[in-house]
Amino acid sequence: MNKGRVIYEDEAEPHFRLAYPHPGLTAFVEYYFEVNQPATLANPLYLNALPNLSNLLCVSLRPQSWLSINQKSGALSTVKGSRFLGNLTDLHLSIYPASVHEFYVKFKPGLLGKLFRINPAEVENANADLMNFIPLPELEEHLQTAPSFRERVSLMERMLMNRLYGFTPDYRFAIVQTALNRFGQTTGDNFHLSQICRELGVSYPSLHRYFTEVLGYSPKYCQKLLRFKKGLHLYKRHGSGYSFEEIGYTDFSHFVKNSRQLTQRSPSDL
């Protein structure tokens, strides 16, 4: 049964391209990616989007729509045109029929909320017309006519440099980003939140408050999401024999239980 699959950043795909940002933008942008699917309607592309903290800017390069299905609630959205996509609380299955070509910017968690003064809860699972958030009609047209992914990345970077010029993330935002980076790096025994708090020089209640303000979630929940993404990546590479204790799980069963909690599926179905 085809239940879709998760594509990781290090996978080379003919219909999936990825580029990391200019050093001046690494504080704001995770990466840029493009889905270009020239297949037939008879054999659409199925991709899974895990619950995450990211906000995406999606620029439609062809007028073909695609489907996004919330696998917990069954809610279906047709995605057409350029979109602002909020962070996901549930697993979403994306079905791309023929001729889908979309360019994405994946922002650092919480950045767009800070930049546009949006309450994080308002963009949870958002799937809205991009023009309502960031009116960029000329940029959209330029991106649609740019001949390559590399040129689209350059165009987007120029726009972001202008937009973000002078924007300095505050102390709380910086602490949250540092903590998120630490969640991603943790191996062995150094994944306890109390230890991370000590390293960052903040108390847990303060860290909890910063996370709630910037992302709308507790540090523990965010750590759980990032740990699961990493765990699934390792599971795809090494199978159930991997030592899941290395990334903070009690054992493989703990990882599977986490998978069911977050996605309602076992890791092998993702």
Partner: protein
């Protein structure tokens, strides 16, 4: 002696049927029948009308949650449209003979009406007429020989035979897909169009409604190349979509001349019971309508109302 012959014998007008059906033009017959109905209605009181409503099995509303059914319909139509099957809002009536002239349907199973119409009994026939009209009038023109005209609808159907299965009603909603194209050799249209219909049905049933037991059964039917069609199409789709469950039946117990070469059924299991939730196949209707043997037409019908009752 048929019922009609008995009636004509009783009123001692044995030639009346021939006069009405063969000697009058359609317009004259329509005028005559309008007058007949007008006179009969004048004798009808509001109390009689209510009595008729209470007795007539065609006129009662469907007993279901309208808003939730509409939600399901919207989701299904969204999927149809995303897969480039353009949704069409059909008229509730179709030209008289829409089902029985081109297909093996009995006109007595259709609610024939006045002014040269019948109440819609099969939306795929109405879509075939619409597709043929778009092609003949030049409103749709392929840019490549392999281009397909894809249409879809969700429509309430009325059929006259009394229902015998519990839960079935005289009128019901069916979701329909049709693909119209031309033969370009090597069963290309058949392979591509059927794979597309299966992809749409999979997106609806398995991916959106999360019915994991979905499978398709291809049934060989007379009319096209004695089994080569089924073999070719099944091989193509199995290679293309390894995630689909496809069964084949090359020696069906019962013949069905409605479909030409290949019929397929959509099967799901809900609550431990198997349901045939959809049905489709290749038909020669556009060949007949456009008088062109190269025309190809694939239809699919999905029991939306039955599906609604099963999944909610």
């Amino acid at each position: 002696m048929t019922i009609a012959e008995k009636i004509l014998h009783r009123i001692n007008r044995p030639d009346l049927l021939q006069t009405l059906s063969e000697e009058l033009t359609p317009s004259e017959l329509n005028s005559l029948l309008l007058e007949v109905f007008d006179r009969r209605i004048q004798r009808l009181s509001p109390a009689n009308l209510l009595q008729h409503y209470q007795k007539n099995r065609f006129v009662k509303p469907a007993d279901l949650d309208v808003m939730r059914l509409r939600e399901l319909e919207t989701r299904i139509l969204q999927i149809f449209e995303t897969f480039q099957f353009r949704p069409v809002e059909l008229s509730p009536v179709a030209p008289l003979g829409s089902c029985s002239v081109v297909a093996t349907a009995d006109q007595k199973k259709v609610l024939s009406a006045l002014r040269g119409t019948e109440v819609l009994a099969d939306a795929t026939n109405a879509l075939a007429l619409h597709a043929a009209d778009l092609k003949k009038s030049g409103q749709w023109q392929p840019t490549q020989p392999t281009d397909q005209l894809r249409l879809s609808t969700i429509q309430r159907h009325v059929r006259t035979p009394p229902v015998t299965v519990a839960g079935h009603t005289q009128h019901f909603k069916i979701g329909c897909l049709v693909s119209s194209g031309r033969d370009t050799g090597n069963f290309q249209f058949e392979c591509e169009s059927l794979a597309e219909h299966l992809a749409v049905m999979t997106a609806v049933l398995r991916d959106t409604l999360q019915i994991s037991s979905l499978r398709f059964r291809f049934i060989q039917r007379a009319g096209v190349d004695q089994g080569r069609l089924l073999d070719r199409v099944a091989t193509h789709i199995r290679q293309l979509r390894k995630d689909l469950s496809i069964e084949t039946d090359t020696a069906p117990g019962r013949q069905n001349p409605y479909y030409k070469g290949l019929q397929y059924k959509i099967l799901i299991t809900v609550g431990g019971q198997e349901y045939e939730i959809g049905d489709g196949g290749f038909v020669d209707w556009t060949q007949q309508l456009l008088q062109n043997k190269k025309e190809r037409f694939l239809i699919t019908g999905l029991g939306v109302e039955q599906l609604f009752r099963l999944v909610t």
